[in-house]
Structures are given as structure tokens and as C-alpha cells.
Amino acid sequence: MQVTLQTLVGGLSLGAIYALVALGFSLVYRTMGLVNFAHADVVMTGAYVASTFSLTARLPFALATAVAIAVTGLIGLVIERVLRPLENKDFDLMLIGTIGFGIVLQSVAILIWGTTGRAVPSPVQTAPLSVGGIRIRTYDLVVMAVAAVAVVLLMLFLQRTKRGTAMQAVAMDHEAATAVGIHVGRSNAAAFAIGAGLAALAGALVGPLLFVSPTMGGSLGIKGFAAAILGGFGSIPGAIVGGLAIGVLDSFAAGHFQGYSEMVVFLVFTAIIMVRPTGIFGERTVSRA
């Protein structure tokens, strides 16, 4: 029991990160039907920028994260602009195009930061809390809190602001949205920038948990993507639930299967998705039949 709970707590903190990654995927997917395979490498870029500014420039962690969000937001705008001719047209080509961008981001990261990678010290140095015999790292709590705040802010933005509502409208029907005077291109660009910003936040937060390297996006991004699919592609609550589920699955697999955890995670994921391809909450987008 003790061990189970301990694993669960560890899984939830990593799960919060996956949820952030999945949110970025889903936000971009639902607004423009673009599956952004470069998202994983945007996370990696975010992790590097944040760690560089906090380690080298000695900025406070929060400020470094903000810089990372701004930088990746710009990258998001560039990706969206280049791939705009393909939006809502050829699904498979867009997918491959974003993979191309992923390759570019990775090689740029190698050019700037080298291939070796770096360990990022935790910004919170207090001793772990002990609740009912379970040791909880304070940083895990920070991660979960930040992720929760980000989710709440995103929901408020989408539901309470004019731009957010416009984004929802574009998600439902981009032609009708154009007809009522919404600038679809601008709205898509904003969605892409926000998605990339969420990726940077995830990257900054995951830095102290994992090792930051140019290839860290690979498994992190695919798990985030898996989380989005598991929850129901394009669904915001789905991304959160899917993220936490993958995090917990990851943590239990690591506990029981050690080195083989990744294999177990993906096999289990494949099995679940075979049974229910639309995920827990069902795909929430315009039908693209």
C-alpha cells in the first residue's frame, strides 16, 4: 500500500508534465487540425532555454521559464506560418512537415548546446514532506501546482475572453468562423503560440526531473502525444486525465519492470487505444471524414 501510494505520487507529478504536453498538442489539433510532431522538440527547446537562463544568466527560475515560453511561442508562430498552406488540407503531409521541423529544432539545439546534455538542479531546495509515511518531494508539488494553474488559466482564456471564444469557434467550423469575421489565420497563429508556450512550460518544469538533452523530446513527446490520444484527441479534460494516466502508468511500469518500463507503457497504450480508438472523452473536433 505504502509503495503503491508512493509510486502514485511520483506518477502524478510526471503525469502533470505529460498533461501539459498533451494540452499543447490538443489545443493546436482542435483549432487547426494540425498534428504537431515537432511539439516534442519544442518541449526540449523550452527545457534548454529555461535551464540556460536560470543556470548561466542566473535569472530566477520563474523568470527563466517566462523567457522560455516567449522564445518557444515565437518558434510556434514560425512553424504555423510555414505550414499554413497545408492547414485543413492534407493531414499526412502536415504530419511529415512537423516531423521535419522537429529534426530542425533538434539539430539547432545540438549546434547551440552540444550533444551531451545537462542536469538541472531543482529550484526548490527544501526537504521532502512526509505525509502518512509517504515522502513527497516539494518540487513535485510545485510542478503539480504550476500545471494546475496553467490549466485553469487556459480554460479561463478559452471560455471567458473574446479571442479564446473565437478560437473555439474556429475549432468547430473554420469556414463559418471566417464568415462571422474571425481572422482564422491570426487565431490559428495564437493557438500555435499558446501550444508552444505550454510545451515550454512543460520543458522548464521537467528539466529538474529528467536529464535535459537534445533527444529528450523523443520519449517525452510521444508519451505526451499518447496522453492526448488516450484522453480523446482535442479534448482539454481528456488531455489532463490522459496525461495523469500515462504518468501513473509510467511510474508503475518503472517500479515493476525497471528497464523495460517504456516497452510496457507503449504496449499497454497500444492495447487500450485498440479497444477504444477515440479515447476516454472521444475526439472533440470538427468531423474530418
Partner: protein, 597 residues
């Protein structure tokens, strides 16, 4: 053709002479390039030809190499025995990874296959039998009748032979029955199943082929390098392979080969600037996707179309639609007592919405039967139930007195039901002739065992299909467009192609969904003539149509649907006088506006 043969011959001579002209390092790079070319051909077949996003190709490759390595170094098998087992294992792995493709497509499939590739990578980095991160070294040199294959020069010829056979087989598949069905499935899986393609089996075939090619590549790689380690099968190499296929042109196998060998050579030239090389091929992939989605292989066709357009402006006439040649009338008496199509209390519910509500109707054999009704009255849903796309929530469909049961669209097509679609569903990257050929092909998918085992019979069947396609194109006056892509033709012509495609399956029952939509007066008259001739040749025709003039003049009987239920049934005159119909139709304009989604 003669130019092609000459080009092929000179290419073969060049490939055979090549080792004499290059140094030992270059030949090694070429050997690696050929392995990647094999991988790329397999990937092109699955992704470009069959449209299955397969991002696990590198894992199939790894399986081939690792099984060879393990069996030769740990179990004491000979190289070729181990290699044969390895190819079989890769093929089976391909099938297993392909299973998710039965349930999902596109990006879902991409992420699942990528996840499974990571799972494989995770296994080889950890498993003791696979040597962990160190991999397996000291794989024996493959023996070959005393030929010393430890020489990269001699190994080149072995690879070249294997590659030539594999490429020839791939091209053979693409340009014959199986490849046409795969391409049709890529363009429009729904329409492909309506003309008799068994989609699930075809998807599995695509993965099986991808797995087999990767397996062969893996065995050759193991024999060439004689050392395997996890980093060769990493995601970075998966994306490199993807770049090769995209830059070369995923829909052309030759393009894939050019991409693979070209990128291997460039990567070796830039080996000291590996990161810049990676950066530039990433950029090239992005540019290719946006500006040249068909890759290098598509460039000649694009240039040709530009030249053609210039010339067309200069006055060369476009081919014209020829007249329809009436079909031979049937001499067989149709059974009058047994309806060709019968629906018994068919209902179809979509969550809350009831699209069909207890529809019963009978279509007499040899009739032209009209189905009319306001928008949203369930006409197309009824067609979808009859042709097997939807399973009815209640009730049964009988075709020629036989319960259709749970038979899927392809089975119904093979048993004699053909249909057209409301918004044209032609295979857009197949020529008009190929569109017809796909539907003419009545073989079951399991017939593909002939491809590896008895290819001669494939060639023979192909010749026969070609002859019948020419006849059919003549009958429908389409001979002038045989080599054109449907998308480049006028709308009325496309409608006629779809009709010809439906008739290619020699159906007993033909379902036409709004065949006159978008046709001008003359085209509609031609359509009526064709439909009558088709009926006279012994085919029962059911048509959904909004053009009431056409329905009244053409149909023997008419069924009227409103809100998913039958409100009238009888001869056109009877139906036109029925009060319920008048009510439904007088309210039509308002109704359809209110009911529009």
C-alpha cells in the same frame, strides 16, 4: 518504352561496373545506401502506395538484423538459415504492428507505430540476449559458394542482386492488381471497399510487405557490418529514413530509392558536419512538404503539366467525350416473383437521431426504381445500409432474396451490388483507366499468394483486365480520357466515369446516388439513355434523385421517404398524386431550411 529499356540497361551496366571505379570507402557507403534503399522501398510501399503511416520501419529493420545476430552468434545457426528466420520474424512483427491499423489511421497510426518502435528500442537496449547497449559483435561472414563476402566489393553484388529483385517485385506489385487496390485504398478507402477491395486485409498486406522488405534489409545489414547495436535503430534514423522517402517521393518506389541512396551519400560527404547535415535535411523535408509534396519523383510530371498547359494554350484540342454505346440487351428472363432488393423494417439510429425508421420496400428485378424525398429524409443512409457501410439497428436487407446479413461493403460488391456516390468519390491519383481496372478486378484479396509464388498468372490476369477495361471505356465513350487523372476532367465526365466504374463490377443491382446532380440538360438526357440501356442489359437500378422530371420519365416505380419513413410507394403517377407526398414536397423549401444542420 524503348527509351525506358535503354535507360534501364545502361543503368544496370553502370551499377555493375560501378565497383571498378570507386575506392573501398565509397563502396562501403554504397553498400549501406543499398540497405537503406531496400528499407525505403518497403516504407514507400506501406506509406506512399498504401497510405499507412508506418513509423516502425526501423524496428522491423532492427528485428531482421538482431534475429540474424542472435541466431548466428548465440544459437549456432548458419547465416542464411538465421537470415530466413529473421525475415519471417520481421514480417510477423510487421503484421503485429499493423493490427492497430485496422482500428485507426493517419496520425493515430503514426503515434502508435512510433510508440511501438520505441518499445522495440527499449527492449534491445535492455535485453541480455540482445547484448544491451553494447549490441552484438562478431556476426559471421555469410558464406556463398566460396565467394568471399567479407569484401565490400563482392558484397555489393550480393546486395545489388537482392535489391534489383526486391525493387522489381515492388514495381510489379504497384503496377498490377494488388498495387492498384492499395493505391485506391490510399485515395479513398470507402470507395475502394465499394468496388470490392477488402480494406483490412489490404492494410495488413501493406504492413507485411513493409516488414518483409525491412527484414531483408536487416539481414543484409547484419552481414555487411557484422555488428548490431541499438543506436542504428533509433528514432533519429527512423526520421532519416522518412526524409529519404519524402524527399525522393513517397508515391514512387524509384523516387524512394533515389532519396535513400542520395541522402546516404550526402550524409557521408558531410560526416564531419553531421549536425549541419541533419539541419539541412530537416529544412529540405519542410520545403518539400510545402512546395513539392510528391518529392523529387514528382518533379518531371509537374514540369510536363506546365509544358502541356502552355501547349494547350497554343491550340491543341482536348479529347472529347464520345457517345455511349448501348449495352447488349439481356436475353435472360428475370425472376418476377423475387425482388432484386428488399428492405424489411430497416431502422438506423445515430445516437439520438433516427435516420431510418422501419423502412420496408421491395424493388422488382429489372426495374428502374426511384427513391425521392426531402433532404435529410434518409435516402443516402438507406443506400449505405444496402451497400454494407452501415449495419442496420433493426430490420434486414435481402438482395435477390438472400439475407445480406453482416456482409461488408467489399463482399456485397463481389456478390453483385455496385453504387455511385453523391459527391463523386473517384480515386484521384489513379488514371481513368486505373479507376475502371480497380473495379473490374473481381478477385478476392487472398489471391495475392500468386504474387510471390506464381507471378505469371498475375500477368495473364492483368492482360485480360486490360482488354476488358478498353472495351468498357469504349462503351462509355471515355477512351479519349483513359490516361487522364479524373480531377482534371469536367464534372459531367467525372460523373460518367463513376457510372462506368460502378458498371465495371458487372453488378446485378446498381445504386445511383443523385446521378444527375450538377449535370446540364443534355448530360441528364444522356444519363437517362445510359440508365435505360443498363436496365435493358439485365441490371436492376435503384436511384436517388432530386430532378423530378428525370424520375417521372425514367422510373418504373418510386418510393418516397420523409423523416426516415416510407410515405408513398407506387408508379410515378400514383406517387405524384399521393396527398402525403404533396404535403411533404410543398413544405420542402421551408422544411429543408429548418432542418439544415
Amino acid at each position: 518504352m524503348r527509351y525506358r529499356l535503354a535507360a534501364l540497361a545502361s543503368l544496370a551496366v553502370f551499377a555493375i561496373w560501378l565497383p571498378y571505379g570507386v575506392g573501398s570507402y565509397t563502396i562501403h557507403v554504397l553498400d549501406v545506401g543499398l540497405v537503406f534503399a531496400l528499407l525505403a522501398v518497403g516504407m514507400g510501399l506501406a506509406m506512399g502506395v498504401a497510405g499507412q503511416i508506418n513509423l516502425a520501419q526501423v524496428a522491423f529493420f532492427g528485428a531482421g538484423a538482431y534475429v540474424t545476430a542472435i541466431l548466428t552468434t548465440k544459437s549456432g545457426y548458419g547465416f542464411w538459415t538465421a537470415g530466413a528466420i529473421a525475415v519471417a520474424v520481421s514480417a510477423v512483427l510487421g503484421l503485429l504492428v499493423g493490427i492497430p491499423a485496422l482500428r485507426m489511421q493517419s496520425h493515430y497510426l503514426g503515434i502508435v507505430t512510433l510508440g511501438l518502435a520505441l518499445a522495440f528500442l527499449n527492449w534491445i537496449t535492455n535485453a541480455e540476449v540482445a547484448g544491451g547497449a553494447d549490441g552484438i559483435s562478431a556476426i559471421p561472414v555469410p558464406p556463398l559458394f566460396g565467394v568471399d563476402l567479407s569484401s565490400d566489393y563482392l558484397y555489393y553484388y550480393l546486395e545489388l542482386a537482392a535489391f534489383a529483385v526486391a525493387l522489381a517485385f515492388g514495381l510489379f506489385v504497384v503496377h498490377t492488381s494488388l498495387g492498384r487496390r492499395l493505391r485506391a485504398m490510399r485515395d479513398d478507402a470507402l470507395a475502394a471497399s465499394a468496388v470490392g477491395a477488402q480494406i483490412p486485409l489490404l492494410r495488413m498486406t501493406a504492413f507485411l510487405v513493409a516488414g518483409s522488405y525491412a527484414g531483408i534489409a536487416g539481414v543484409l545489414y547484419a552481414g555487411l557490418i557484422r555488428f548490431v547495436a541499438p543506436e542504428t535503430f533509433s528514432l533519429a534514423n527512423m526520421f532519416l529514413l522518412l526524409a529519404m522517402v519524402i524527399i525522393g517521393g513517397r508515391q514512387s518506389l524509384v523516387g524512394c530509392v533515389v532519396g535513400a541512396i542520395g541522402l546516404t551519400l550526402i550524409r557521408e560527404k558531410l560526416v564531419d558536419f553531421a549536425t549541419y547535415a541533419q539541419l539541412s535535411y530537416g529544412i529540405v523535408v519542410v520545403l518539400m512538404v510545402v512546395f513539392a509534396p510528391t518529392g523529387l519523383a514528382g518533379v518531371p510530371a509537374r514540369l510536363r503539366s506546365i509544358v502541356d498547359r502552355r501547349r494547350r494554350g497554343g491550340g491543341a484540342a482536348a479529347p472529347e467525350l464520345a457517345a455511349f454505346q448501348p449495352l447488349a440487351p439481356s436475353t435472360v428472363d428475370l425472376p418476377a416473383d423475387r425482388p432484386a432488393l428488399e428492405a424489411r423494417g430497416v431502422s438506423k439510429r445515430f445516437r439520438g437521431l433516427k435516420a431510418l425508421d422501419g423502412v420496408s420496400l421491395a424493388v422488382r428485378a429489372g426495374d428502374i426504381h426511384g427513391i425521392v424525398g426531402p433532404n435529410g429524409s434518409g435516402k443516402t443512409t438507406l443506400f449505405n445500409v444496402v451497400s454494407g457501410f452501415y449495419r442496420p439497428s433493426a430490420g434486414a436487407v435481402l438482395i435477390s432474396g438472400q439475407p445480406a446479413g453482416r456482409a461488408g461493403p467489399y463482399q456485397r460488391s463481389l456478390s453483385g451490388v455496385a453504387r455511385t456516390f453523391q459527391n463523386l468519390r473517384l480515386f484521384r491519383t489513379l488514371t481513368v483507366r486505373e479507376n475502371i481496372l480497380v473495379a473490374l478486378d473481381r478477385t478476392r484479396t487472398r489471391w495475392i499468394w500468386r504474387y510471390p509464388l506464381w507471378p505469371v498468372s498475375v500477368v495473364r490476369a492483368e492482360r485480360d483486365l486490360g482488354r476488358r477495361a478498353a472495351e468498357l471505356l469504349d462503351t462509355f465513350g471515355l477512351a479519349g480520357f483513359a490516361a487522364a487523372l479524373p480531377g482534371s476532367l469536367p464534372y459531367g465526365t467525372q460523373r460518367r466515369i463513376e457510372l462506368a466504374r460502378a458498371m465495371a463490377g458487372a453488378p446485378r443491382l446498381l445504386l445511383l446516388d443523385e446521378p444527375a446532380a450538377g449535370l446540364n440538360g443534355e448530360e441528364a438526357r444522356q444519363l437517362a439513355r445510359m440508365v435505360r440501356s443498363i436496365r435493358d442489359s439485365g441490371v436492376t437500378v435503384v436511384l436517388i434523385e432530386h430532378n423530378m422530371g428525370l424520375v417521372m420519365s425514367l422510373c418504373d416505380r418510386v418510393t418516397v421517404l420523409a423523416s426516415g419513413a416510407v410515405i408513398a410507394d407506387g408508379t410515378p403517377a400514383e406517387v405524384a398524386a399521393a396527398p402525403a407526398v404533396i404535403e411533404a414536397y410543398l413544405g420542402d423549401a421551408e422544411l429543408s431550411e429548418e432542418m439544415a444542420p
